[in-house]
């Protein structure tokens, strides 16, 4: 059986040098089924071999059928010839072909506004990275400076923003986050109790699981887990919202109509998260303790009453307050990371995607660094 096209006569191309400075190319046959040779490479070889070449005549009188592949080949040949300052003349081609070529002629592409640097040597990369770090730091300080001005204006009562936006973001980042915060903090309590139980039963000190879970949740984990959840929910959402507004020129419009994006857009989000994170963290503390109690009851034969009594004796208000202070700081950082990445977003859909990712990464880095620093300070102060 014949496989498709194998035995069909294909189109052909032949090259003939007529004189020193002219080349004649003849195309024949069925060019819907072009020859398997690399025409452009052959032509380039000719151009390189014959320096004196001034003109190329391409004859297509015997072409029986063709499609746009042929036109594309001819177009490439014309362009290549132009680079070598060789003139091309098309002779007796089917009428459609020169017309299509003319269309392509007028719509030639232009260089891009952002040329990619091609030579990426190791040193140039190091240079680029250090430049990136510098500009990144400057941009961050820029944003934080502007944010402080915005907060200052807010305290003076001079900031322009919509109070209803604050309510909206309070609800969106607070109440709507309750289910996921419940689940995660409960499970974190369970996990800590498990780990503690295995160790502490070796010493017969299983009752101290309650101390472990209670203190860890209130001082560190409640705020930390909540902050990480809120980074993923609200920090990412903020970056996407502001990035999209950037793409739609909505932020330009705000600026020119006399609104400060820092006040109108960032302030409500910043206020909402700093207000909302402490109560959310407190809620997470309690759910974590419940998780611990469940493990105590199921694994360690502790009654709920015993467990809660032990927790109560282990905790004092200071533990809660230290955790809430952390939550407050995390709230400020998550809002800052989200809004900053959003406002720094480029003006395309993919840039918004990048801004969102970057907001989450930045937010988590901020949180972890802040967690380490505050824990260190608490320890030094003996809190």
């Amino acid at each position: 059986m014949n496989r498709n096209g194998e035995n069909k006569p294909s189109g052909s191309i032949s090259w003939e040098q007529l004189q020193e400075d002219t080349l004649s190319v003849i195309l024949k046959g069925d060019w819907k089924n072009p020859p398997k040779t690399d025409i452009l490479a052959d032509f380039l070889k000719m151009l390189k071999k014959h320096f004196d070449l001034r003109s190329v005549t391409i004859n297509g009188s015997d072409i029986t059928s063709w499609d746009t592949r042929l036109v594309a080949h001819l177009w490439k040949i014309q362009n290549l010839a132009k680079q070598y300052e060789v003139e091309t003349v098309l002779q007796s081609f089917p009428r459609g072909i020169p017309r299509l070529l003319n269309l392509a002629e007028t719509s030639r592409g232009r260089e891009s506004a952002e040329p990619e640097s091609l030579d990426e040597t190791f040193l140039s990369k190091i240079g680029e990275v250090s430049l990136d770090v510098t500009t990144e730091t400057v941009r961050m300080l820029d944003f934080i400076g502007a944010l402080f001005i915005g907060l200052f204006n807010f305290l003076r009562g001079k900031a322009r923003f919509r109070v209803s936006d604050v309510w909206f973001f309070l609800q969106d980042s607070g109440a709507n986050a309750l289910p996921i915060v419940s689940l995660i903090s409960f499970l974190v309590g369970v996990i800590m109790a498990f780990v503690g139980a295995v160790q502490l039963t070796q010493f017969g000190a299983q009752i101290y699981v309650a101390n472990l879970v209670g203190i860890a949740m209130t001082r560190e984990m409640g705020a930390l887990m909540t902050a990480i959840i809120i980074t993923g929910r609200s920090g990412a959402a903020f970056a996407a919202q502001l990035g999209t507004m950037m793409v739609n020129q909505e932020i330009d419009a705000l600026k020119t109509f006399g609104f400060e994006p820092m006040e109108y857009l960032v302030l409500p989000r910043f206020l909402a998260l700093t207000i909302m994170l402490p109560p959310l963290a407190l809620y997470a503390d309690f759910l974590g303790i419940m998780g611990g109690a469940l493990v105590g009851w199921a694994m360690l034969d502790l009654s709920f009453l015993q467990y809660f009594e032990q927790t109560r004796s282990a905790l004092n208000p200071q533990h809660f307050l230290l955790g809430l202070l952390k939550a407050f700081i995390y709230g400020a950082l998550v809002a800052t990371a989200g809004c900053m990445r959003g406002l720094q977003s480029g003006r395309s859909a993919s840039a918004v995607g990048k801004a969102t990712t970057s907001a989450v990464v930045t937010g988590i880095v901020f949180i972890i660094v802040a967690s380490a620093v505050t824990t260190y300070i608490y320890t030094v102060l003996g809190w």
Binding site: A113, P115, E250, K255, F257, F259
Partner: protein, 254 residues
């Protein structure tokens, strides 16, 4: 009327050069916009019309050259002076740039609430009136995402008119509109100028608009990367200085 006071120059652009990163968009731009005239910016897609508008607004700083408003250099002003100037501009962005979390009514009302001392009922009436002017009566409770692109453009125009600015800067106000609405918008722009004396700068490649309302037109050439045609639209059509201007202004009458 535009030529009752020929000497009053509202905006003056001197040797302006525009680049993105290092890529040249346009250079050696020199022109004046007189007070109360309708000034059209024409040119092929990608020639830099929107970029020029961003420079006129002060959203982009020129690489070279100066932009004067009433003989004050835009970039010699203090930041708060620049902001005050921008607040007196009525800008329609190419993408309309309506605030997507607000309804059409709120998009206009928020400006009146923040920058005037009108009371609420007055603001409501103004909002409804401005929307009616652009043919969107009764649409004040719609969100920008719930209306068509052409309607968004018109709502953006209504927002630009909210504070009765000194100068309008419109980026393709009639793009994407049907001929009837497009004509209505053109006559609205002319009425605004005739009755309020507002200077109007319009980016457009609709020949109908250019000939119907333009007092002066400049042609941004994407090959030469500068202005290759400037003057009264009909004059440019009848005596084009070069083939691309001729091609642009005569494409209808082949």
């Amino acid at each position: 009327m535009p030529d009752q006071n020929d000497t009053a120059v509202h905006v003056k652009v001197q040797d302006l050069e525009m680049r993105y990163n290092n890529f040249l968009i346009q250079k050696n731009l020199n022109f004046e916009i007189r007070k109360g005239e309708i000034f059209m910016i024409a040119g092929s897609s990608g020639s830099g019309k929107s970029t020029l508008l961003r420079h006129l607004i002060g959203l982009m700083k020129p690489v070279n050259g100066k932009i004067f408003y009433h003989d004050r250099n835009l970039w010699d002003m203090l930041p708060q002076e620049q902001k005050a100037l921008q607040r007196r501009m009525g800008i329609l962005y190419q993408s309309a740039a309506l605030w997507s979390s607000l309804t059409l009514g709120e998009n206009i009302a928020i400006l009146l609430e923040n920058f005037t001392d009108y009371d609420q009922s007055e603001i409501r009436h103004i909002v409804e009136f401005k929307l009616a002017l652009v043919g969107l009566a009764g649409y004040q409770d719609y969100y920008p995402s719930d209306i068509s692109g052409g309607m968004r453009k018109r709502a953006g125009l209504a927002r630009a008119m909210a504070l009765d600015p000194d100068i309008f800067l419109f980026d393709e106000p009639t793009a994407g509109l049907d001929p009837v609405n497009s004509q209505r918008l053109d006559s609205l722009i002319k009425q605004l100028r005739d009755n309020l004396g507002t200077t109007v700068v319009v980016v457009s490649h609709e020949l109908d608009s250019i000939f119907a309302i333009g007092d002066t037109v400049i042609f941004l050439d994407s090959e030469e990367k500068t202005i290759t045609g400037m003057g009264v639209p009909a004059d440019l059509r009848d005596h084009p200085p070069n083939s691309r201007v001729s091609e642009f202004f005569n494409r209808e009458n082949k």
